[in-house]
Point group: C2
Chain length 123, copies 2
């Protein structure tokens, strides 16, 4: 079976801190995904924004990405194992995380959804 | 290990069709969950609403629960196996589903997140 994150991750949806909320919401809906990784011009990790954060904006009338983005991101590197990944998902009660290289550059994303759908044992 | 849905599901967050969007958004944020099951006065399944749907409301300026709720819900019964559950999650590209009895009454919810966090093999 698959043992390392590098065998599982896929391309991430990305946006920048100065983008407006509506355009990020449209990106999420158009791609049927819940997670957008916030990056700078050099693809360096700046934060993460999920449909959960957009729900926070509706609940508390926030208007800008910078008001609802999570800046302290839990990420993973391609060399980490699937066990380490699951351990982090549990520890921080999150359902996805960006995959980054040693310079913090975003390489992709991996999620609980992908684990269940790609790794589930055949009946 | 766990083989049936009845060994895994938990209580669902619920709301009703006539609730306003802001109060459902606050329910999602307060509980750190992404899924709310829409029910009638007798707890019969009416639809499902996720943080993804609230993101749709932001993207396309919708204001009411009834405008964004998904009425055709994929659900599962407690007697179904975990394999059948994973099969449905994959087939419909969803990450959670309500657990219902034979009358369509909502008993709880089960998600990909729970599968990964509760069923993951120990290292
Ligand atoms: C606690 S989770 C619960 C809801 C959902 N299961 C999820 O993961 O989005 C929601 C919050 O976690 C944050 N979040 C999601 N992925 C994250 C990650 N990899 N690192 C840090 N925070 C993250 C989101 O920005 C959001 O504010
Ligand atoms: C296609 S999924 C993709 C995003 C995310 N993975 C999720 O499941 O919400 C998003 C859409 O699926 C719908 N949905 C979620 N769970 C569902 C279920 N059990 N049955 C039918 N539709 C569902 C939501 O209402 C939302 O409009």
């Amino acid at each position: 079976g698959i043992s390392f994150v590098k065998e599982l991750f896929k391309d991430a949806l990305t946006c920048q801190l100065e983008d407006d909320l509506e355009s990020v919401a449209k990106l999420i809906v158009a791609n049927n995904e819940d997670h957008v990784v916030v990056v700078d011009d050099h693809l360096i990790l700046q934060g993460i924004l999920t449909s959960f954060d957009i729900t926070k904006a509706v609940a508390y009338s926030k208007r800008k990405v910078s008001e609802i983005v999570t800046r302290k991101v839990v990420s993973v590197t391609p060399e980490e194992t699937i066990y380490e990944l699951i351990g982090k998902l549990k520890k921080y009660n999150i359902s996805a995380m960006p995959v980054v290289d040693n310079n913090g550059k975003v390489l992709g994303i991996v999620s609980a959804d992908m684990l269940v759908k790609d790794l589930a044992p055949k009946p």
